[in-house]
């Protein structure tokens, strides 16, 4: 029952739109305070940050719970991160700066906190563009490498947040602690896997063929693998 509730894709899709609905309502009823453009800008930024953090939360969640099919939620949250980040950028360029490119250039050059925002956005943009299946196929192994840049983006986001403040650290610190926990989890998993891999590497250069049907496959692999035991469990045998 719980699992079924947790896997309601349309529910999550709509939930991610709620912050935007809230912001639009506040815009209509003039509830954004004395500096509405900045309030709008900050709220969109806050939501893209929160969604980025949720995106990073999916993999640990999957590892801990062993739930399958979580990738689609990671993709959903990642794309919503991109959606809110894009609105954040549009508000800056259009409402705040009035598309005055010379002024925008000066502002970006002189504001180091924006450099980190730009870095984060360019990474998130690249990740969003490479989301379609065709792009995944095209990039092959590099896709995973590229998508690891999300860690750099999240670090840049934290600096972007903290550096525009005059010194009140509470909120950026809160997000930094959560990010650190999420990254620590990955580090722990990576370390554990590394230890495990070490144990798996035998000292001989022998190839053990488990099933006779798989000889052809193993021969091709043998060239590449240096002494790693290949346990061929081919589903072809059953079919």
């Amino acid at each position: 029952m719980l699992l079924r509730f947790l896997k309601l894709y349309p529910l999550y899709f709509s939930l991610c739109l709620l912050p935007l609905v809230g912001i639009v309502i506040d815009m209509i009823f003039d509830n954004l305070g004395a500096d509405p453009v900045q309030a709008l800008h900050i709220r969109l930024g806050d939501w893209s940050l929160r969604l980025l953090w949720l995106t990073l939360f999916i993999t640990p969640l999957q590892k801990i719970t062993q739930w399958r099919g979580m990738a689609q939620y990671r993709k959903l949250l990642g794309l919503y991160t991109f959606f809110y980040a894009s609105l954040h950028v549009i508000v800056y360029l259009w409402l705040d700066q009035g598309l005055a490119w010379a002024a925008i250039t000066t502002d970006i050059i002189e504001s180091s906190y924006i450099w980190f925002g730009v870095t984060a956005y360019l990474i998130i943009l690249a990740l969003a563009v490479t989301t379609p299946k065709a792009m995944v196929k095209l990039l092959g192994k590099n896709w995973k490498k590229l998508h690891r840049y999300i860690y750099i983006a999240s670090g840049a986001v934290i600096i972007h947040y903290y550096w525009q403040l005059k010194g009140n650290m509470a909120e950026p610190l809160f997000y930094l602690i959560i990010l650190s926990l999420l990254l620590l989890f990955r580090l722990a998993v990576w370390f554990k896997n590394r230890q495990f891999t070490k144990m798996m590497i035998p000292t001989t250069r022998k190839i053990r063929v488990v099933k006779a049907d798989a000889v052809r496959v193993d021969q091709t692999l043998a060239g590449r693998s240096k002494g790693i035991v290949i346990e061929e469990i081919d589903s072809d045998i059953e079919t």
Partner: protein
Amino acid sequence: MIIKTHKSIPSSEITDPAVFKQRRQLIKAMLALGITGSGIYSGFADATVVNWQNVPKGYQPKAPLTATSADIAKNHTNYYEFSFNKTDSTTLAQVLPIDPWSVEIAGEVEQPGVYHLEDLLSQQTLQEYIYRFRCVEAWSMVVPWIGFPLASLLKKVKPLSGAQFVQFTTLFDPKSMPNQADNRMLEWPYVEGLRMDEAMHPLTILATGMYGDALPKQNGAPLRLVVPWKYGFKSIKAIVKIELLKRAPLSTWSKSAPNDYGFYANVNPDVPHPRWSQSSERVLGAGFFTPRRKTELFNGYGDEVAGLYSNMDLRHFF
């Protein structure tokens, strides 16, 4: 030579004081009912009977500026003693006891002493000064302050020849100021300073009111500094001490982050803050589709004050 004519601000451009009054009456009513907790309320308007609404115009070198709506000016304050949130200070500051209030004048003066605010004010003529207020956070508003030139107070207490700088100190009252109680972010009480010639400049005022009424507590009641060509943090609120010094005082922000905030803090679009640009500012109350405004050197008061810094490298003395 260009001879400037100084038009006065059309009264239509300033928020209707009636709207303001209503809000004050509402607060008074709430206080009377004990809603806000503090039993004491007094703008010193009640104590000294100032006619806030017919204040003559003060020194106005600039072309007329349109005042920002009072509602914005009253609910968008950086009063870190109370809160780091600009709207929260509006309610939090209401507990501040401002009556009676005294100001200590000390240091290099002939007549040092602790003065009752009423006594200091009785010697001054209140005037209205409509200034642009530019925050270091790159936003600005236009406020019709009511006050008097700092110079006219300093002349009364007679500075000695050794007086080169003026140091101002905000009230230290951890009972009503939560961030002072918790020792948060800055070293309290807040301290600011001016060079003597800056302090004596006719644009530099001490404000006791705004928008045709007594100064609201969140805006620095009962007495605050306003130096229109400098970033807002120089314009210290709730002043309890004015000390004339031989040497430059260390202001609170300079002490906390010397690379970010200098002693002078003159508004300057060409000298960015280490982490953000100062080239433009968001004009509060301008609406959604009005882009930022280009920041002017000395906040537009260059004709009047540039001479104070004629031989100085403004990048070094930021």
